[in-house]
Assembly symmetry: C2
DNA sequence: CTGAAAGCGCTAACAT
DNA sequence: ATGTTAGCGCTTTCAG
């Protein structure tokens, strides 16, 4: 195997421009103390030779690696990819994260890490040691795993916690779960619904509780009780069916249900059909996620869109900028929006319930 | 910004194990000439200190970068991500490619490159120079772009051409387009169809023609003419509608159509409905791709599954192995399969056509 | 079989 | 404002 070396290095550029390595380095990194004339000359040489610095070398010399690591939950991600049901979380992460990285000369690398494993830290530290990224993006449920966050804090690598509002090290950045849930609830209230059920996600995800808060808040505001109207699932289809069944078999059953994931909403839709309920005539349904699938159901689902791409993009920016200016201590929020489709409508008249 | 250095380096391991750096290096790289006892001792130190080599340093010293670069078409990829219509090409690439990389200690990095740009080569060579990958995976339509392939050949970096059977440098690897098209056609022939239309993809993709070959072959075998039954689209919805219209407005219109992408099949389905044709009663439809969306149409589409994950995985293996053994000169084929769903059925009796 | 020395391409720190 | 020096962590010679 031939030993592959860089075709054109900083040395070539320096020689071509007739300056020292350092001057070239300064130009590359936009550092001060270079006369415009020199800068120009160096730039010309760089272009002529189409020189691009080796990130390995840049990393070696103690500066940046120009790599941002996005950590995703291994099992969930592989399950999504294998199921081929159109969940596009990773794609949206790439759309926002990767493109923003590219704009700034960085690259984004996806890494799958096992949450439930007892050696999360080893898995993660391995990736960190091997790649030496300049920033790490944590997605739920890693975002609040103390093993992970405290390890990352120790390394000194800036990191973002998507889906977390907790204090502590790292940049907290959420998609406005509380306001979004409020929004969804309000949409139903506006349609005259009073009994609005809520299928929350697992406690493992703190956003689950924040969504409950938003729903409760709106219900309280409207003066409707909600004591028996909250159940939980694990975001998956089966759990959603169970949770929906609990709600729909109540004596005074809800006329609308908000589910914390598309899969759970799909399950509720299926169950409603099985029970002879027509959506949205007898039951209105609001989903969370707005992944591609919700447009292909019948009726299409009204859903809270999770702005994953925008969030990933923002995270990347904050991470990269944190070299120069300290990141916000307060949680950052990138709000989603409600996309109204066919699964929500006016509450049925009292007689029909 | 604190200068971040590797927490534990090869030096620490060497000191801990009481051997020289080289011995540690040899153990890491599974090189010969290390006594089992030494190897054991070094391994123990590595575990104890949880040492992981820095890929930047490994790269610098002239060996591997442990990076595989997957090149995708910029416009198409971003369009897919933005449209959120469930196309999961990238996910499947990651599923196959990234996981296989991980098994072998490599990482996969996605890079978007503009095909139609006149500086494709600059874009690509920039990525190569910056990352120094150990292998590159080309996807259509880059796989047969001579600017790209000849540049890559010059660099000496092994690369795979997915969707290409052309000779020349690089490992050609396809998903069996000809046999797959034959399979799809045979499925329809078995159902008694004789007039089977074909909506091909753009000529820019050589696989388009290979699929036409498969269809023609099967039609010829069955003794059916196909002179007027082939049209082309660009894989997109609109083009599919146009192409399908051409076929469905023929005097002796086909009773079945095979389209070379899900979007085009969706378009054909919509057109059929508009024309008052019921699928599959009046018209059978077979799709290519089998992306998530095809299960959510009514009826669900019979489709040729493109084994993207398996192909990406195979490509990664061939690339990594090509360090040691020369890659196959012949094109590699990872065959897909036909997934039969509701959009295909028996040909309508002659009277009804 | 093992170790010492040299150097990959780049930047930080220190000259000038 | 520019150049010089040293060294990042590792592998590749080349000596023992």
């Amino acid at each position: 195997m031939a030993r592959r070396r860089q075709a054109v290095t900083i040395k070539h550029v320096a020689a071509d421009a007739g300056v020292s390595l350092q001057t070239v380095s300064r130009v590359i990194n936009n550092e001060p103390n270079v006369r415009p004339a020199m800068k120009e000359k160096v730039r010309a040489s760089i272009d002529r030779l189409s020189y691009v610095p080796s990130i390995a070398a840049q990393r070696m010399s103690g500066s940046r690696s120009y790599l941002i690591l996005a950590i995703n939950d291994r099992d969930r991600t592989i399950a999504d990819w294998t199921a081929r049901e159109g969940r596009d979380w990773v794609d949206q992460m790439l759309l926002g994260g990767m493109l923003t990285c590219a704009e700034r000369g960085y690259r984004m690398l996806i890494e799958l890490v096992d949450t439930h494993s007892d050696h999360v830290e080893r898995e993660l530290s391995g990736a960190i040691a091997a790649l030496q990224p300049d920033g790490v993006i944590l997605t739920p449920p890693h975002s609040e795993n103390p093993l992970i966050t405290s390890f990352l804090a120790k390394t000194g690598i800036p990191f973002a916690r998507i889906g977390s509002r907790q204090g502590g090290p790292g940049i907290a950045i959420t998609m406005g779960d509380t306001p979004n849930a409020r929004l969804a609830t309000q949409h139903l209230l506006d349609h005259g619904h009073e009994r609005i059920g809520f299928v929350a996600g697992p406690e493992e995800f703190s956003l689950s509780n924040r969504r409950i808060d938003g729903w409760k808040w709106a219900m309280d505001q409207a003066g409707h009780s909600h004591d028996d109207l909250c159940t939980r699932g694990d975001f998956g289809f089966e759990s959603g069916k169970l949770a929906a069944r609990k709600l729909l078999t109540l004596r005074d059953r809800p006329t609308a249900i908000i589910c914390s994931s598309d899969q759970m909403t799909l399950a509720a839709l299926e169950l409603a059909r099985e029970m002879g309920l027509e959506v949205p005539r007898d039951l209105s349904l609001v989903s969370f996620d707005n992944s591609p699938i919700v447009r292909f159901t019948d009726p299409a689902l009204t859903a809270v869109d999770q702005p994953i791409a925008a969030t990933a993009s923002r995270a990347v920016e904050l991470l990269i900028d944190s070299r120069n200016c300290p990141p916000p201590g307060e949680p950052v929020t990138v709000v989603g929006e409600l996309v109204v489709r066919g699964s929500t409508g006016p509450a049925p008249p009292h007689g029909r319930r």
